[in-house]
Chain length 320, copies 2
């Protein structure tokens, strides 16, 4: 049997099923959530190249880094240097990129640089709040309060991340109602958007739809929610489809599927941007993102990290 | 940050969304479609162990091997020996396992062993018929005719596989109507079930639903169809969810995601049985299959093949 040239190109006509959005927003987390969970530390120049390539690929939102203490995340110790580099090169486009800030100290750094968007990281469970934030579940909200207040007063938008929404490695199952309560508290503090994280990748499609319904019952519509899926158990894309079917239009993804999983010995990390793009392209759901450029960026980063991309699409198209 | 013991167990309460079936049938293709696409050749004893382990895990249908000429598929050159071993050990349970037969010669071997179910492999496209079957598109049906007729006369059931239903590496896109025409020809020959193969893994969810609708328009309901997804582009599980939503209840899967893709330099093969089971368990869709036993079998086979499982669930649960 002879083989076709690779990579093959199969022209697919987009086929939309009813009840799907016309377009969705991909919130790219590779430079932050991806790189912070990779073992290798990447030079700041490579990170700047990654971010500008992703911008050139058309990704509308790119979370560039995190102003967390280097003791906790040494991979992102160069956060201020990276933002300085990006601002030098692309100016306001860099200032529009959200950065994660854990507390007021991080906020001060973001304000100093004139950044417009921050993200704050909370936990839906007591145990993860204790282990990741060194605060009790209730104390985390007290810690967030001045950060939110000052950021909002400065005209910033604030994204609230909520982790362990679909399962917690220490506590096991997490009640949907508890997630809604935690989410509402972040929104009440002033969060403009809530990103619900399946940090350990255990969620399945019905769970996702039930979560969205429970938020709607609490007065929080799908337009205020983003979904942040990890592919640890291979469920991320099926969960994305299920979420789109109930009105979610913002999805976090990581170019190349960078990130790994800090809570399982598994190669798979965040939902890969390419795998998401492949599905959306096939469904005729608009993104404004150039798939080939994302794949090129993922291959560039895989080379920098000395590994093959976790993204199925990147591997298939780039022959890796 | 301390880490929980691995593998973690997150107790998930099944959450069913409406319009999903109460139960589905997993048609296990690992020993045939999986192993025939692996580079390494596995000893017949290991294959027999794989098949009996999968049977013990509760898989209701296991396609055990293929009576194709060893020149084309050296990995399955021991097909008759394997079936003999299995019949010695588990008797009628082995005779109930379907085997692939390419033509009347293969059928003769299946009849000699007293097997009850065969599968026949056709192509939805002209090019793949030429390259894989050495027949034109029309000639393939002429070749199948006596095989179907004699098998049905002997009281066998016949599954018809149709490959390249969602894209062809040489021809590119494949018209849905052309797939329906080919499928109807196999059904007219006497096929009891039609397995629609996304051989190169390019399909997306809307395409799958449109295919099922087109078959229904032609008088072929979803109860006569099975879906055979490959995960080359990471789409297999999202496509499965979409197919279930339109009434499909039989899904082909391969333990550990064995199989690779013969038409892309990619590590991912058939939809992994474990990844499918994880989703179905979460959705409360019954299968009768023991996930842990499938994972154990996948790890056993990965060791035999000298690789890590392609299944995300197997990697996460087995720490590989």
């Amino acid at each position: 049997m002879s083989h076709p040239d690779l990579p093959m190109t199969v022209p697919t006509t987009p086929i939309t099923t009813h009840a799907l959005p016309e377009a969705v927003t991909i919130y790219e987390v590779g430079p932050r959530d991806g790189l912070q969970n990779e073992k290798a530390v990447v030079p700041v120049e490579v990170k700047a190249e990654m971010v500008t390539r992703l911008l050139d690929a058309g990704l509308p939102i790119i979370e560039a880094t995190s102003f967390v203490h280097p003791k906790w995340v040494p991979q992102l110790a160069d956060a201020a240097e990276l933002m300085g580099l990006l601002i030098d090169r692309i100016g306001d486009a860099a200032r529009r990129m959200p950065v994660l800030v854990p507390n007021e100290k991080g906020l001060d750094r973001a304000l100093d640089l004139g950044l417009e968007h921050i993200a704050v990281f909370g936990s839906a469970t007591e145990t993860f709040a204790t282990k990741n934030l060194n605060r009790s579940y209730d104390e985390q909200f007290a810690m967030f309060e001045p950060t939110f207040a000052r950021a909002k007063a400065a005209g910033m938008t604030v994204r609230g991340y909520l982790s362990m929404c679909f399962g917690d490695p220490w506590e096991g199952g997490v009640e949907i109602d508890a997630v809604v309560r935690a989410g509402v508290r972040l929104l009440d503090l002033g969060a403009d958007e809530l990103s619900l994280g399946d940090t350990i990748g255990v969620a399945t499609a019905g769970h996702v739809q039930a979560m969205v319904a429970a938020f709607a019952d609490a007065g929080v519509g799908p337009e205020r929610l983003a979904m942040h899926f990890h592919d640890t158990y291979g469920q991320a894309l099926a969960n994305t489809l299920a979420a789109m079917q109930v009105g979610i239009t913002t999805f976090d993804a990581s170019a190349g599927g960078l990130g790994g999983c800090p809570y399982a010995k598994s190669a798979t990390g965040n939902l890969a941007t390419e795998d998401l793009l492949w599905m959306l392209k096939g469904l005729g759901v608009g993104t404004g993102v150039d798939l080939d450029k994302v794949v090129e960026t993922s291959v560039f980063m895989a080379d920098a990290l000395g590994k093959t991309p976790a993204s199925a699409v990147a591997r298939a198209l780039a022959g890796q």
